[in-house]
């Protein structure tokens, strides 16, 4: 066991740190769930791409740097340390990209990956349907083969980023006689195809981070299918595994929040220490963010040595989502009567606004598979309890 960085890793950290110091926008970008913010974030993806920083783990020929997972963690640490913008194309870079590398044809890799890396194609997710949420195998939206096209009819919902995205990936029932996990295929759909209607859904924060997507005789070429026909479920499980696991929620994100929470507490101790539980909550949050980082380095080390991510990905999802709630609860407790004020209200002192993060944290235990579903997975696959 060697818990120290190599010279090469240190040099890599120094390089990304210097680049970020020069390029990260001085003013925070508007939310990517607004039209203006979406474009600004797409531009930022382009800037990252031009510095070859948009997908450091991808191979050189696809615009990446061929980094291993330890270097990826270093990248993320520096990224969050610098307060760089959120990744508007996280569906593409963290979820679909790795799935295409594993399941796509050479032609698909060439066609889709460079445009993901450059931010030219921003991707939306198409999993859930009105009657297929936690029970995703209940998907009914059909993609019926007609020559060299699929004709899609039905509805997706909670489709993240669909309001302004260019493409959607999702699961569709290609065998109309099938049920449950069988007969599904993973299909990539341009959102400007005729017959598609995107209806934004207004979220708790007032913005439209996701949408309903209606399909009315939408024709998509068969070559847009990822993996074999009828094998969509296993492709989707790989994607969901990435989502729950390592890529989407790097520890650095939560360490940055924990560090900000400590600073908030230190700046407001007189107020905060009236309730001794707040100090403990702040320390506990910091330790948990640290634990998440340690666990991720451990997983990364195992993967580098040829191991695999299994059901422990589900423990990650529970751990970070509940940590995020705890941290924002603690921040709200410190802020007291200022806590309810929205971000646009100017305020004095070292308070800052936590309300956007507080609202977003509420969604964590729900999206990417509710924490109840994750607990079932842990019990059955990690602990071997009966179904």
């Amino acid at each position: 066991m060697e818990l120290d960085y190599t010279d090469k890793q240190r040099a890599f950290r120094a390089e990304i740190r210097a680049w970020l110091a020069e390029h990260v926008p001085k003013q925070p970008l508007p939310s990517f769930d607004t039209e203006e913010g979406f474009q600004a974030h797409r531009d930022w993806e382009r800037t990252l791409f031009e510095g070859r920083w948009s997908m450091v783990t991808w191979p050189q020929e696809l615009g990446g740097r061929g980094c291993d997972l330890i270097e990826w963690l270093i990248f993320e640490e520096e990224y969050w340390r610098a307060g760089a913008p959120l990744r508007v194309n996280q569906n593409g870079v963290f979820l679909l990209g790795p799935t295409i590398m594993d399941y796509g044809s050479d032609e698909q890799r060439q066609r889709f990956l460079p445009r993901i890396a450059s931010g030219d194609d921003v991707w939306a997710q198409g999993w859930s349907e009105p009657n297929a949420g936690s029970d995703m195998a209940a998907i009914r939206t059909k993609a019926v083969r007609d020559g060299d096209h699929y004709v899609i009819n039905g509805q997706k919902t909670w489709s993240t980023r669909a309001v302004w995205a260019d493409w959607l990936f999702g699961l569709f029932r290609t065998d109309p006689e099938s049920s449950r996990h069988h007969g599904l295929s993973f299909v990539l759909v341009p959102l400007d195809t005729p017959g598609i209607t995107v209806r934004p859904i207004r979220q708790l924060n007032g913005e439209t981070g996701f949408a309903e997507v209606f399909f009315d005789d939408v024709r998509v070429p068969v070559e847009n299918r990822l993996g074999d026909e009828g094998a969509g479920w296993s492709v989707a499980m790989a994607t969901a595994g990435f989502e729950r696991g390592l890529m989407l929620r790097s520890p650095a994100r939560f360490q940055a929040t924990a560090a900000a929470l400590v600073r908030l507490y230190q700046a407001n101790r007189e107020q905060a220490d009236r309730d001794p539980a707040i100090r403990n909550a702040v320390l506990d949050a910091w330790l948990r963010a640290e634990a998440y980082a340690l666990a991720t380095y451990r997983t990364a080390s195992r993967l580098i040595q040829g191991g695999e991510i299994g059901a422990e990905a589900s423990t990650n999802k529970i751990f970070w989502s509940e940590l995020d709630l705890k941290m924002h609860d603690a921040a709200q407790a410190i802020l007291g009567a200022h806590g309810e004020l929205v971000a646009s209200v100017p305020r004095e002192g070292a308070i800052g606004s936590w309300i956007d993060g507080f609202l977003f944290a509420q969604a964590g235990p729900i999206y990417a598979g509710t924490n109840e579903i994750q607990r079932n997975i842990i019990a059955e696959r990690l602990l071997g309890m009966p179904r």
Binding site: L287, A291, T315, Q374, P386
Partner: protein, 353 residues
């Protein structure tokens, strides 16, 4: 950067595990509850034969020269199987303390490190953080803290008063003794560092045992809920039961990396080893408390019986809750770092020196 154990380390663990599984059975632990000493010459011989008494004794004294990283895996097994022989205090914490004594104690080191390596000596450790000394009644020598001086006192020179623990395996004693020039091995100036290391090592050992104990009570609960049927099904198939155990699995998954990191920091003399050890201790104390509660709950009324072996490990968890520092003590150590003005807090600092 490599956060994995070596094949040798894992092989050693597998070997010890298979021996403990056979020889340190719950029936034996129950038999020992009924004996005066609560200790077993056979078990001590077993750990000696397995090389555990010599594990981290330096090679020049006849030991194997292994490190805290090897020990943390052993201590998990000690926890899992509920071993209460004074192995950790003797051969890990005690041996390390003696090995670090100054040159003035060279003769003492020669004698006692060799004895420890050969399984011919048992040690007990007295520190102000613990009001009582575990296993003092079977110790050949007590290593005692007197205002950070290090004293070595033969058992014949101390007066012991037994204090019963809820965990009948644990044998605890108040120790009366008189410090003298003859018993002193190191001054307070020298001893301060030695005791700080001994404290961290002991805290790490408790955390590692808790980790093993959590795995043990989880295993017992998984087995029980697969066998026990109600409403025509194994109760382990009900989500309400599954989620209680999944909660424990999640906490354990994120406590173990903190434990292993603390071992590395201690082995390498990292300047933040104390912080890392306290992190592991806090995480595992919370995890273990949750594990005891939830695993007992899924056993229903059986969980409240003397008959079930769950009690052996659940009581150990409760008994260890505040050994080598309670939650307040370790949280204060974390606060000293996290809340200090000079501390840099950002995501790049996890492995900073």
């Amino acid at each position: 950067m490599d956060f994995t154990f070596t094949e040798d380390q894992l092989a050693l663990r597998a070997n010890v595990r298979s021996v403990f599984m056979k020889e340190v059975a719950p029936e034996l632990l129950r038999e020992l509850w009924e004996t005066d000493s609560g200790r077993s010459a056979e078990l001590w011989q077993l750990v000696t034969e397995q090389g555990l008494t010599a594990l981290s004794v330096p090679e020049e004294y006849g030991g194997l020269g292994l490190s805290d990283i090897d020990w943390v895996l052993m201590a998990q097994e000690v926890g899992y199987y509920g071993l209460t022989e004074p192995l950790i205090d003797t051969s890990w914490v005690g041996a390390a303390l003696i090995a670090a004594l100054p040159e003035s104690a060279a003769a003492f080191k020669d004698v006692w490190l060799a004895r420890i390596a050969h399984g011919e000596a048992k040690l007990a450790i007295g520190h102000p953080l613990n009001p009582l000394v575990e296993n003092a009644h079977v110790a050949d020598l007590l290593l005692l803290n007197h205002g950070d001086e290090v004293h070595a006192v033969p058992r014949a020179q101390v007066t012991l008063t037994a204090h019963a623990s809820l965990d009948a395996s644990r044998r605890l004693f108040a120790v009366e003794w008189t410090p003298s020039e003859a018993t002193r091995l190191a001054s307070a100036n020298v001893g301060r560092t030695l005791w700080a290391d001994a404290l961290n090592r002991s805290v790490l050992a408790v955390a590692a045992q808790l980790s093993g104990l959590v795995t043990r009570v989880l295993d017992l609960a998984i087995d029980y809920t697969a066998e026990r049927k109600q409403f025509g099904k194994p109760i382990g198939s009900f989500q309400a039961v599954k989620h209680l155990l999944a909660d424990v699995a999640v906490e354990l998954e994120f406590a173990k990396p903190a434990l292993f990191r603390a071992a590395v920091s201690l082995a390498n003399g990292h300047s933040l080893a104390g912080l890392h050890v306290s992190h592991a201790r806090l995480a595992l104390a919370d995890t273990a408390a949750l594990a005891a509660r939830h695993t007992m709950q899924v056993h229903g009324a059986m969980g409240y019986t003397w008959e079930l072996d769950l009690q052996i490990f659940m009581k150990r968890i409760w008994a260890l809750a505040a050994v080598w520092g309670d939650k307040a003590y370790h949280l204060a150590r974390v606060a000293d770092h996290v809340l200090a003005e000079s501390t840099v807090l950002d995501p790049s600092q996890t492995f900073a020196a």
